[in-house]
Structures are given as C-alpha cells and as structure tokens.
C-alpha cells in the first residue's frame, strides 16, 4: 500500500491553517488561557489518523486541535468553543484543553499522561461493544514519565487491548529538556512492558503513515497494543506567548525583564563560590541557547517536507482550499461571537 500523500497533505494543511487562525484569535484576546498548538505535529496526527475508521476512538492531550480537525470535527464549533461561545463544541465550557466530541469518540485532557489510560478504557469498550475498533492515545515524551501512563503500557499488554500509544517527541516539556530528566530510552521503555514499539521520524508524514499502518493494523486485528515514538519539532514554544520564545523574539525587552533579577541573584549574599554561580548561570544560558537553536530548525517543518512530495500546483490548490475552509469557519464564528 502507498500513502495518499495529497490527502495527508490536505489534512496537515487544514490543521496548520486552523491553528494559525487560533494563534491570530488568541493574539486578539478572543481566546483565553493557555493555548498549546500542535504546530509541528501535523504529520504525526495525519499519518496516524489516516488509519482510523468510524467508531475508532482518540484520547488526546493539551495539543488536541490537529487530531480533532483531522478527524473532521466541525471547525466553526471548535472556534466557537475556543472563544467561549455557547454554540461551541462544548458550550464554551471546556475550552482548548478540554475538547470533547462524543460523536467522534474523541476526548482531550490537560492532565499530562491521562490520555493513555483513557485510551485503554476506550479500547476496552471497543473490544466489548465494537469489535475490530481501536483507540489511539496521543501524548508527549514528557508524559512518558507520568505513572498512570506507564501503568497503562502494562495494562494494555496485560489485557491485550486494541490501543496504540503515540508519543510525540518534541524533546521539551515546557522549559525542561526531557532528556535531562528521563532515564534510558523511551522506545526500549515501551518495549520492556511488552508493547510492540516503533520509532519514526514524525516530520515525514509518509513514514508515519507506514508505521502507524502497522501498529493500528495489529491492534485492530487483536494482535496487541502498540507504541509509536515519533520525533517532531516544537515550533511555537510550549504555548502561545511562551516567555522563553519571547526572549528570542524580542530579545531586548525580555532580557531587560529576566536579566536583572538573575544578576541580582548571582551576586546576592551569602555567596556560593563565584565559579559555581557562573556554572549555574550557564545551565540557564544553555537551556535558552538550545531553545534558540531549536527554534530556528524550521527545516523540520513537516508541512514543508510533505510539500516537497507534491507538485507546486497541487500544493497550492490544497493550501488554498484549506485556507478557504478555515477562513469561512472563522468568519462564521466571529460573526456569532460579535453578534452576541
């Protein structure tokens, strides 16, 4: 089987355009709270979702808009939800970290790691009520240190559940380099629980598609749960307005904010040996520097990479369609919001 790259790209473009719109609305103050985008994760979402059927279920984390858009949840109702409108997907009561679509058996949660056991439950119900259906959990590499998620790996194997765990490894958990607080390797970790584990470059949608096909296929056939470790970039920081990103985007203003207290701390009494302090300062500097480098690794943009597989004309047509769909949804949603 070969992937339908046009369709995959179409989904990725829809996700990206949609989230760009979210960023715009958020910046205009129309969306409140933390807004975590899945920009950079589109290939993972699209590649996995391509294998889902009706009545398959999804448990999502705090970056849940790409999978929901990809699964066909109405864009206008998503936008209305983000803007807290009563006609939103959840009546304006859930917001962007708590999006629920019962029809699509899709639920998100802002508690890191909770998507994994939720998906186990979805899978258990599938096995009883909808044989041949599967559940997918999306989460980040940082979540892989959360106890309930690790327990879920075991539970899925012990109960042979039709579930696929998809770990989107963007190497960061807020401001923490995940590697610095994670022992061993996640692929081996998953495998050690008895999961069939796959690693894939999550910026290459065609590869995600092929890998997910195997994992979802096994689960659907009742041959056991799977794990996919998909690397991907974190292109927009942890959330919109990420202060660490701001340091790079507005270096002067932000350094003025962060710098002086740090310098004060560096010099305050009682003094640790000054070299030690410089070292500690270095830790922060390094984190910021790494982040800076990451930020500009834009060639890992999954859309750019997928676009390379298409003719320029096709790409543009798809992009235009996606933009139009998003613009229309946004126009309608904004009209509703302003009309209140």
């Amino acid at each position: 089987m070969v992937p339908d790259v046009q369709e995959l790209y179409r989904q990725m473009a829809r996700m990206r355009r949609f989230e760009e719109k979210l960023a715009e609305l958020w910046n205009r103050g129309l969306i409140s709270g933390e807004m975590h985008l899945g920009v950079g994760e589109e290939a993972v979402a699209a590649g996995v979702l391509a294998h889902l059927e009706e009545d398959d279920a999804m448990a999502l984390d705090h970056r849940s808009t790409p999978p929901l858009v990809g699964r066909g949840v109405n864009m206008e109702s998503l936008l209305l939800e983000m803007m807290g409108h009563p006609d939103g997907l959840c009546g304006g009561r859930g917001g962007h970290m708590h999006l629920f679509s019962k029809e699509r058996l899709a639920a998100s949660s802002g508690i890191v790691g909770s998507s994994a056991p939720l998906a186990c439950g979805f899978a258990l119900a599938a096995r009883q009520l909808r044989p041949g259906k599967v559940a997918v959990a999306f989460f980040g590499e940082g979540a892989a240190n959360q106890g309930m998620l690790l327990e879920s790996f075991n539970l899925a194997v012990a109960w042979n559940l039709p579930v696929v765990f998809v770990c989107k490894d963007n190497r960061w958990a807020i401001t923490t380099r995940s590697r610095s607080v994670t022992g061993g390797c996640l692929l081996r970790r998953a495998r050690s629980f008895g999961l069939r584990a796959f690693r894939v470059d999550g910026t290459r949608v065609e590869r995600v598609w092929a890998t997910a096909g195997k994992a979802v296929g096994r689960a659907r056939a009742g041959r056991g749960p799977g794990f996919i470790l998909a690397s991907c970039p974190r292109m927009e920081g942890h959330f919109l307005g990420d202060p660490m990103l701001r340091v790079f985007r507005e270096p002067v203003r932000q350094t003025l904010e962060i710098g002086p207290p740090l310098a004060r701390a560096l010099l305050s009494r009682p003094l640790a040996a000054l070299p030690a302090r410089a070292l500690h300062m270095g830790i922060i500097g390094k984190a910021l520097a790494t982040l800076g480098v990451e930020k500009y690794v834009l060639e890992r943009d999954p859309l750019r990479r997928a676009a390379a597989l298409l003719s320029e004309e096709t790409r543009r047509r798809i992009e235009d369609e996606a933009s139009r769909e998003v613009e229309e949804a946004a126009r309608a949603a904004l009209a509703a919001v302003e009309g209140r």
Partner: protein, 339 residues
Amino acid sequence: MPEMTFAQAIDYALGEAMAADERVITLGEDVAMLRRELLVRFGPSRVLQAPISEAAFLAAGVGAAMAGLRPVVEIMMVDFIAVALDALLNQATKVRAFSGGKWNVPLVVRAACGGGYGDAGQHEQCLWGLLSGMPGISVLVPSNPADAAGLMLSAIQCDEPVVFLEHKLLSDYWLDYLGRGGRETVSFDVPEAGARGEVPKPPAPVPIGKAKKAREGRDIAMFGLGVSLHRCLEAAQELEKDGISAEVVDLRSACPLDREMILSSASRTGRVLVVDEDYAGYGLSGEVAALLSEEGLKVDFARVCAEEVVPYARSLEDEVLPNRRRIREAALRLCGGSA
C-alpha cells in the same frame, strides 16, 4: 425476601445488573477470586483481573464508561484511591461539565472502607468527605444488606460517577480476610442488623440521595451512615434509659445529602448530632452544619467523628472511631444533661 449477608447482597445486585445488561462489567485487583461467582457466570471478559495500577485502571474505567460500558471498578480499599484520584477529580467528574452536558460517565467505583478491626489508618479510612468534595459525584454508604443491594443497583443505573463504599465491619469476607483470618481468638463489634438481613428479590433500586429514618425520636436527631448509623442506634437505646428520645437518620449517601429529611428531623428536634466515622474536619459533618445554617435553622449542634489518624492498637482505635460512649455523652451534653 431471602436473607443475605451485606456482602452477598452487593454481589447479588451486581450479578443481576450484569445479567440484565451486557454493558455492565467489573474490574479490579483480585476480582477473579473476590468475585469468583461473577467470574464463573460472566467470564473473564466481563470480570477483569487488574494489575496493581489503580491510577490506570480507574482512568480506564472512565474511558470505558465514556465509550459505552457501565464499569464497576474496584479499588480494593478506599484508602488506595489516593494513587488514582486524578481519574475522579480531573477526569470522571469533569466530563459532563466540560463537554457542555453532552458526554457523561456512568462509572461506579466500589471500595471497602472503614475500621474497627485493627489495620490502622492507612487501611481503615472512610474518605467519603474527601470524595464528596468533588462536584459531580455521588458517594453511597449503605448500612444494611437491602440498602446495599438497592444502592448498588442505582449506582450502576446512574449516568454519573458514583462511589459505592462497602464497610468492612459489615462485610463478612472483608472482615474475615483482614481482621479475623479464620481465628476464633479475636472479636469485632459487628452490628448484626447491618451484616445480615432481608433483601428483596429481584433487588429494588434505592434512590440515591434519599435518607431513611431508622428510629423516631423527639429530643435529638442523630445523623449517621454505614457503621456509624448502628452506633447511633445503639446509643439511642442507652439514651432512652437517660430519658432522652433520640431520632436516628440513616443518611445512606454522604453526597448528595437529603436536605429535606435533614431539615425536618433537625427542626423537629432542635438538636443535631452528626456521627461520622470519617475525619471530623472539612467533611460530612461540616456540610450538614452548613446546610442547617444556610437554611437559618438554629439548632444545637455537635459531632462525633474520627478526630485523628486511626491508630493501630484496638483499644486506641475504639476511642478514635465513634463509639456508643462518645455518642451518648455528646447527646447528653446537647440535651443539657451530663454523662
């Protein structure tokens, strides 16, 4: 109506519910042995043996409930809910609210609770106060076999998360497992009327949030549930000799409370004593006080609860858990006498 033990009544209701509705399943640690009769009837796909992973399997219960099953998830002892609370606090009880009322979680959490057999306070807690503090949950604490069966049935039929607590002192197999261990050399203060009694066949659902008057009285209203209800009844008998007529109300659920019955008993007697095996602070007894105060009902009020961590030694434990003596003394004080 056949007579059953408290434990039999629960599993009887659960079994009937499982027979009537394929979507009802049960899962938890050691269920293959604890619920072996259900396992034999319904097989391992509906009686699922779980690893010691409460956080995961309770949250999986939430997911299963969202996706169409009606799971009864056993957290062996309610104390262990501490490792799995997220599934209730941030997931199960939030889904209805966050989804704008569009999605719900018909989940039952079943757990053994309570003390009186010498395991100390990491295994003998009640925690219904803590659990009731989450909006969107019901917490049931039956005090006898008929209510146990009826409330289990209602819990399973309920479309929202329900915690069903099974007091170990009423539940013969738990008491034997954890306290007696087949010995003849130990004894427990088991309220007989709670441990065994008639149960309607087929089981009749008992509405959630409806209290029951367990004894009529004029001078003071005592509110209790679970084993404490029986302690109230025992104390009420003694109080009769003191010339005090005590009304006893079985709250049956810690949450929701039966406002109406609480208010009517309280206003009629003018004196309220809450007897609660759970911790005194920030729990059921406070909620009853608030409910009365909010209604402008200015009654004499006292509570007899667990004031501290339940200690191991049986003699110390007996003093920390509400007992007849403490209840009687509190009642006498409220009624202006002294013990």
